[in-house]
Amino acid sequence: MTLPEAPTTALGAGPGFVVHLDAYSGPLDLLLHLLREERIEIAEIPIARIAHQFLQAIHELGLNQAADYLDMASRLVRLKVQMLLPRRSEDDGWEDPRAELVRRLLEYQQIREIAVWMGRTAERRAEQHARGYLPAPPELPPPPLTLEALDLLQAVDRVVAGIPTPVLHRVVARPLDVEGATRRIEELLGQREQFGWLEALGPRPTIVDVLSTLLALLELAKRGAIRLAQPSPFSPMVIARDTARPAA
């Protein structure tokens, strides 16, 4: 039985830990182990020292189940700070900040003791075997199936829990605005003989603006309202009023 027996290797004895995190069933288990190593009563837990050893241990032991251990580590550090706050010795109303942790450790220790008992009892029971060979049962009408609403709900919960967090895509229609682009180009043509392609796009163009403008330019060129020229390879297109024919 893999019982939560106390691992024999020394923790907190400086570097050279040999234990693995799997040796502990959780941060409370590790804490109990540290206390046992130091032969300290739970109620007397020296927070500062134990917090240091705990941090050192989870650092050495790796990151398996780290979230639970890190949570405990941060609690310990917080407790350490609370313990350092000055208090007057005659202050009767002082509440020991360790009380909650002590309560949890005691409670957990009980559970551990029961778990150990259960492990031993199950071990004893496993030494007795039930009948193994069961011949094929005779053809019988199957007994009535049972189905509980609760089982169904639980199944739903499992299904819902199993659905991966979706990356939602919203598909939005953005029709091309060729008319708007045409108006913008004609406006520019009214002001100037010739201008660059980038000016025709307007400020902060979207991909839709680019497509709309391109289609508008091609349409205007086809109608003979403009001439399109590219002075050199890969240079921006230059748009000029086609003076041979009046703009349509």
Partner: protein, 194 residues
Amino acid sequence: MTPLAQLLEAALFSAARPLTAEELATLDQDAALADVRVALDQIREHYDFEQHGVELVEMAGGYQILTRAVHAAAIERAQFSVRTPKLTAAALETLAVIAYRQPVGRAEIEEIRGVSAGGVLRSLQERGLIEVVGRSEALGRPLLYGTAAMFLELLGLRDLADLPRAEELTIALQPHRAVTEGEDDAAAYVEAES
């Protein structure tokens, strides 16, 4: 019973199959095959002489302990040789998806559960818990499933509206497909949220 007979009885009882005399001999290094046969005879005679409800049967080259045929009828009538069948987790989950999303096709069930559903659907159909309720208009006109009358009967519900948390769970089980609007437009573009 002799110690060897005890050991053989325990082994025959717990084994998952009939055991041969040779196999039984491996239980005890000090036992010769002849000893094993003597002990087996002793067990058989004991069961017969003391009128046990079981007997030692030699079959297919091996030995097994079986209940006597005379008790078979009474035991079968009592039907406790089998536990009341319960649905497996996979069957329950599939049933849950169908219950809250019906009518629903196999593809959608598989999308929600993330595993193939063929075998489970067949067995749920055989058990009379679900049935084909139509065909989708989608490509390939896939079958659509819904719960059958037996489903409500087993749960003791009057109708599907009685299902617990119906609205909440119907929404929760919607497959997370992209919400599409105007997707026919060539200029539509996809914007990733979050």
